[in-house]
């Protein structure tokens, strides 16, 4: 049990997917200008990342490894993620329209969110078993959401300030993200 607690804490805070592992930066910068879009994106990512990690782990363990065709991993994973996103989109549209209205426009963007693919690959690289893979992908997803929402909160305040012209927009965004990453380094002492 203790191992899982360590895994959860380290995936959410210490090895935060955005601020320490540099994955999913594009949506992190792109959707963090408003709190509303940030929470929408965070929700969509938690949902898709968990599903994608479970499916890719199963495919890798029972299909690619047994047939000895691991070199097809990249192609297989991206296909799984792309079709999963499409499927989730259709499913939500039909059965949970309220949720679809909330997450709708963020879903297609997730296909090219490297955090999703990244987590799937990390699970394989670290040779996690099924339960560990599940725990780590949920935790990484929560970490992504946490970082995104915190960052959106900071960015909403930054817009109100007087930023020098050349620094505006993405530039100040990156510097702000740097500060946030610096704060997250403080969690290293936890485990």
């Amino acid at each position: 049990m203790g191992d899982y607690t360590v895994l959860i804490i380290s995936s959410i805070l210490i090895n935060n997917i955005v601020l320490a592992q540099y994955l999913g930066i594009c949506p992190f910068i792109g959707t963090s200008k408003k709190m509303e879009t940030a929470t929408g994106m965070a929700g969509a990512v938690v949902f898709v990342m968990t599903l994608a990690a479970i499916i890719t782990w199963t495919i890798d363990t029972y299909f690619l490894k047994t047939l000895d065709i691991e070199f097809l991993r990249t192609i297989a994973f991206i296909l799984v993620i792309a079709s999963l996103v499409q499927f989730v989109e259709m499913f939500l549209k039909k059965s949970i329209p309220a949720l679809y209205a909330g997450l709708g426009i963020f879903l297609p963007l997730i296909t090219t969110n490297c955090a999703v693919m990244g987590v799937c690959l990390i699970n394989i690289k670290e040779e996690y078993n099924f339960l560990q893979a599940l725990t780590s992908s949920i935790s990484y997803a929560i970490g992504f959401g946490l970082a995104l929402v915190l960052f959106a909160g900071v960015r909403e305040r930054v817009i109100l300030g007087r930023v020098p012209r050349p620094l505006q927009d993405t530039s100040i965004g990156l510097v702000t993200a740097g500060m946030l990453a610096l704060a997250f380094i403080g969690f290293r002492g936890l485990v």
Binding site: C26, F71, I75, N113, M117, G118, K125, R165, L174
Partner: protein
């Protein structure tokens, strides 16, 4: 207004240089620029994928149905990424280990998909080749600059050679995650300043 092949090539080097002018593909930019060697390796790998994918997409653009084009582009890109991965594993094993999961992640690098969608699918073979090569070399140059700044400030060395006197205390901060964000942010600011002239 149609541009000449030369112009298509040159625009990737300054006018639309990623990731500064086109803010795309930030993840590999931040992650692998701890050292110049990794930066150049990543740049070359991405350039290869970009050029090959652009060429194949432009050849096949008449055949691919437009409704499922994104999926087709992704499969084309993934194929070339697998090629790069296997080549690196065979001939540049140390680099392969250093770059780690960021090699398969070239698949989801938005620059590659972006060029396929925005340029190669609408243009002929030769301009697409020039575009891919230009953007790829531009990306490699940016990665080299960012990694040179980070490596020299973060360790005091550049490709193994001491650039600062040994009395210089390296900012270990620069090779860590926060340094990457702040360094890129400030370089972007400098680019904006130059572009304003």
């Amino acid at each position: 207004m149609a541009k000449t092949i030369g112009q298509e090539f040159v625009k990737g080097l300054w006018e639309e240089i990623p990731p500064f002018r086109l803010v795309l593909g930030l993840c590999p930019t931040l992650a692998v620029t701890k050292s110049v060697e990794n930066g150049i390796g990543m740049g070359v790998a991405t350039t290869f994928v970009l050029v090959c994918a652009n060429m194949l997409v432009s050849i096949l653009s008449g055949v691919i149905p437009s409704r499922i084009r994104i999926a087709c582009f992704i499969i084309i890109i993934a194929t070339f990424v697998t090629v790069v991965e296997l080549i690196m594993q065979a001939y540049a094993y140390q680099l392969f280990l250093n770059l780690g999961i960021f090699i398969p992640l070239i698949v989801v690098n938005c620059i590659v998909l972006g060029r396929s969608e925005a340029f190669a699918s609408k243009n002929k073979l030769v301009p697409s080749l020039a575009d891919g090569l230009g953007i790829g070399i531009g990306f490699t140059l940016s990665l080299t600059v960012i990694s040179a700044v980070r490596e020299s400030l973060g360790t005091g060395k550049l490709m193994g050679a001491q650039v600062f006197p040994t009395s210089f205390e390296p900012f270990a901060f620069m090779v860590e995650a926060p340094g990457a964000f702040i360094c890129l942010g400030l370089l972007l600011c400098i680019m904006n300043l130059i572009g304003k002239k």
